[in-house]
């Protein structure tokens, strides 16, 4: 089957086999999407309907959305969690790109000596399990009075995404044809000129793909947020888990909250998917 599919990419003609493979792709797509679909559907039900046998026939209600976004004093509200997440994600991604672009440049276009070792060092920090660092981080943060602040999450999310960003961006930079840079040099363009007029336009899709991945990982991060930030700067994932209760039914409320929490990243990912594929294609090889 797989061999036929690979060849089909070139041949691309109709025929019953091709039709069946198309149907199969649809089935696989729907199966993968089903849990998400079910989550969205349940968010529009009442708690009684969500707890009953699965059914697609019901009166859609916004009741759960009203309930989960209602502000209760003393409890983490959706607005607050959303703005905490937005700040942590936006600012950390900005700093990641600010440091990763020059670093990737120094590892590809005008490479430092032993750039491979440097690159390996960056990647190796990703292998450091975050749990291994959580104790010292907690103690250091406490001593610096950073516990439960947005700043702490911004710093940690920047560190978390920086190696991946450098690695991906380095691959994109290596794709820039040497001749173009040399031509710009001969034309007397300064290094800044070479970067802004030659390199950046070519790597733009790569920059977008990289920033998007950083946003996804930071928006979805839960462990650091819950361990270091459980009072004062709570983010959206913490707010979602707050909707699981041990008393009474919570399925519909949890579904509504989950839908709200995942919506921003899912929409961004849908819109940018073509870029992401192109970015990964360029980024995978050298």
């Amino acid at each position: 089957m797989s061999g036929g599919a690979a060849a089909g990419g070139v041949v691309g003609k109709g025929g019953p086999k091709s039709f069946l493979l198309g149907v199969l792709a649809w089935v696989v797509g729907l199966v993968f999407f089903f849990p998400v679909f079910w989550m969205v559907v349940n968010g529009f039900k009442t708690e009684e309907e969500a707890a009953a046998d699965p059914s697609l026939i019901f009166d859609p209600t916004m009741e759960q959305y009203d309930e989960v976004t209602a502000e209760t004093t003393g409890l983490l509200g959706f607005g607050e969690a959303f703005s905490n997440s937005l700040w942590a994600v936006a600012i950390s991604t900005f700093f990641v790109m600010l440091m990763a672009v020059p670093a990737a440049y120094a590892l590809s276009i005008r490479p430092v000596a032993k750039w491979r070792d440097v690159l390996f060092f960056f990647i190796s920090t990703k292998f450091l399990p975050i749990v291994a660092a959580i104790l010292p981080l907690w103690i250091i943060a406490r001593d610096l009075d950073l516990l439960n602040t947005r700043l702490l999450l911004i710093v940690l999310y920047t560190a978390m995404n920086l190696p991946l960003a450098i690695w991906m961006l380095r691959s994109f930079f290596s794709e820039v044809p040497r001749e173009l840079i040399e031509a710009a040099q001969i034309d007397g363009a300064s290094i800044r000129g070479q970067i802004t007029s030659v390199i950046l336009p070519i790597v733009a899709p790569g920059l977008a793909a990289t920033a998007l991945l950083c946003v996804i990982f930071a928006w979805n991060e839960y462990f650091l947020a819950v361990q270091l930030n459980n009072a004062g700067g709570e983010t959206v994932p913490i707010w979602v888990t707050g909707n699981v209760s041990t008393r009474g039914n919570f399925l519909a409320k949890l579904s509504a909250a989950s839908t709200l929490a995942t919506l921003p990243v899912v929409l961004a990912g849908w819109i940018a998917q073509k870029r992401m594929i192109r970015g990964l294609a360029m980024g995978a090889i050298k």
Binding site: L21, A51, I123, V131, A159, Y222
Partner: protein
């Protein structure tokens, strides 16, 4: 003589200046990464050589390698290591295989191709905590789960998936989330294949199977490696799914969750927990370095010359 010496001196100076000019753009990222990731690691190293219990509070004492001896004696630690290995290997392999098959399905023209791709990438974009909660409460659950509704409809008894197969309950959610990522990478590889080479193979009468194994697969090698590497990095650290699906139930406590349980998750044995984390870091780096090399070497041998 003196002139040439001073000239080579000057050249060296210039070279050194050039070397530093190249290093400058690298410095912010390098310094930041060292401070934020390596300093805590050094603290961990120090803690791991001490006996340090927070609850009940006791003075911290230097005990040397005692913690390391204890941990290799610990059956629970060995179980956690084994769980981590199983979880990572199954999740990475299954998502790479499924991702490749789905990428091959998508790399062809059919009605609604873009829409199906959109459906397929969605699980990767879902917050892990949400993925875990949705699967646990709406798919697996014996009371509200869709799976059990189907099973009962077919006339079988309801199954408590999570308590019966804790490890697999987690692995399936991980595969669900990471298959789309692998698919994206492989799809990128497939679309980067030169059409003329494939056309030539077809004209030469190569069977689709031969084309796949001799042209497409070798071409995909770096993309597969990339998928395995990135997948391993992220999946070996899985915490969120374990926390929300089983809460570390029997057979599902991986090393990250284990370290959490022994320290801030209630154990409060900071010295011992630090020793665990040091061992994990060292092991991960060894596995990462050698694993990738072995993988490249194996696949290299299959390259058609």
């Amino acid at each position: 003589m003196a002139a040439t010496a001073s000239r080579s001196e000057a050249v060296k100076k210039l070279q050194r200046r050039e070397a530093w000019r190249r290093r400058i753009p690298l410095l912010p990222a390098l310094l930041f990464t060292i401070v934020v990731t390596q300093v805590p690691f050094l603290f961990s190293l120090w803690y791991s050589l001490t006996e340090w219990k927070i609850v009940p509070p006791e003075p911290r004492q230097f005990v040397g390698v005692d913690n390391y001896v204890d941990l290799f004696d610990s059956r629970f630690f060995r179980e956690a290591v084994w769980t981590s290995i199983l979880m990572t290997v199954f999740a990475v392999l299954l998502s790479v295989i499924l991702g490749t098959l789905i990428a091959l399905l998508l790399d062809r023209k059919f009605f609604g191709q873009g829409f199906v791709r959109t459906l397929l990438i969605t699980p990767f974009l879902i917050m892990p905590v949400v993925a875990g909660l949705v699967w646990k409460n709406q798919m697996y659950s014996a009371t509200f789960g869709v799976f059990n509704w189907v099973i009962e409809g077919l006339g079988f008894d309801r199954i408590e998936f999570v308590s019966r197969w804790p490890l697999w309950s987690i692995v399936i959610v991980l595969v669900w989330q990471w298959t789309p990522f692998m698919m994206l990478i492989i799809l990128a590889g497939l679309q980067g294949q030169s059409a003329s080479v494939l056309e030539a193979a077809r004209v030469d009468g190569a069977s689709p199977r031969a084309t796949f194994f001799q042209i497409t697969l070798p071409h995909l090698r770096p993309y597969l490696e990339l998928g395995v590497l990135l997948g391993s990095i992220y999946l070996i650290q899985v915490f969120d799914h374990v926390a929300v699906i089983t809460g570390g139930g029997p057979g599902s406590t991986n090393v990250p969750y284990f370290v959490f349980q022994r320290s801030i998750g209630g154990g409060w044995q900071f010295g011992l927990a630090s020793a665990y984390s040091i061992v994990v870091v060292v092991a991960s780096i060894i596995i990462a370095t050698f694993g990738l090399r072995v993988l490249s070497g194996l696949l290299e041998g299959e390259d058609p010359a």
